[in-house]
Symmetry: C2
Subunit: 235 residues, 2 copies
Amino acid sequence: MQTTAKPMPTNATADTIASALSQAIHEHRLAPGTKLGEDDLSDIYGVSRTIVRTALQSLAHQQIIEIKRNRGAFVAQPSLAEAHEVFEARELLEPRTARSAALNATPDDVALLNDHITQEHAAMDTGDRGRALFLSGQFHIEIARIAQQKTIADMINVLIARSSLIIALYWRRESALCESQAHHALIKAIGDNDGARAEELMQSHLVDLHSALNLNELPAVEHDLRAMLLGDGKR
Amino acid sequence: MQTTAKPMPTNATADTIASALSQAIHEHRLAPGTKLGEDDLSDIYGVSRTIVRTALQSLAHQQIIEIKRNRGAFVAQPSLAEAHEVFEARELLEPRTARSAALNATPDDVALLNDHITQEHAAMDTGDRGRALFLSGQFHIEIARIAQQKTIADMINVLIARSSLIIALYWRRESALCESQAHHALIKAIGDNDGARAEELMQSHLVDLHSALNLNELPAVEHDLRAMLLGDGKR
DNA sequence: GCGCACAATATTGTATACAATGTTATGGCA
DNA sequence: TGCCATAACATTGTATACAATATTGTGCGC
């Protein structure tokens, strides 16, 4: 039996769609290189191509996808050079931001961070690696938010989205995703309002991540957009 | 005699329009708060609203303009808090980028920077303060380019555009725009491949700029879009 | 004259139609 | 069979039509 159409919840906005795609990319449900056809997406979300286009342009500005003229939108495939650039930028921004966060953090903030970690562990336990990855990214964004630097937080947000693509392409499997420990230590430093230590920990955490990149590029794969994005278990 | 219509060179692309608007804002020909009507712009550039919209969305992503739903696009009016954030972000990124630039710079790069300064002086001499401001921004972007960090350069690019708005709103006139001297010193450090000094100079240059901001917000003014954007001397 | 309700207008939001371009399939020819 | 030209198709680019919303203007009652 073929499942056809079903226009979807509809009334989706450009932001909704951009978020959904962004999250799907974060969680590695959409692989680098995957084509994002406008008609496909408008069918899936039940809106016109106009809206889809707006969403795609937004993602293109974040360099999460690449729009090739007359060819369409594709999930970005950062080069190795870009990969290094992204992590170098993160190394400039995040350590000092972690320091600010440590100085600003309230108990509520710390609780929220702990909550993040808990969810991260839960996702790991259920084997949902993609979700764990997404949450570990959110952790970094949360720290930027706590630092109350919206401008910097926005930049980090974009860098983390790109990092997710980089991890999808260049991660060497040997180095197990041992983020949890680093994140735990960070929370402690932040909870203690120890700015210097938070900065230091973030710095080394990023260096760890950066050095865990590999040199050989992986090929891009095609996916069933609807299944990847809606994830409903119809077969 | 009233000058009407004249659809303009036409065949303008979204990028063309975004650049034109961006530059106009850089040069303070478009004041913060100015409304950018879609019909106005499509008339001016001779394209459909579709293209104009794409351009506006692009600028909105850079936070150069603000799009209010069902209200339209307006040149952004950064709050004082945002102003500080922008300069704090620049202080995180630019000094170290200047260091990289100093280490990477070729004689050609230095020549190009000197050329920039020359043009800046020329604009100053002809009293074209707007153009001088634009060029001094480009100077910073050029340094990021020399550092060969495209990702960071893009971020700095956006920050500088926002800085231009901030200067329009919060600049205290007393402190004369003495950028030239700081820029000269920077070029020297870069030409000597003296990374440490370049970083130091950039840092203090940014602190100078940051501390030259004022506290009282200026009101926004309306402008004749066509005249501001096309600048052709028809009266 | 002032304030409010409501109508008229203008502007943006969304969908759709058509044009331009790229991709794929087909068929002739060597 | 293999290759190229060309036609059929699919997809994106742009313009326009219509709907939804905000803004402005008008007139009535007080």
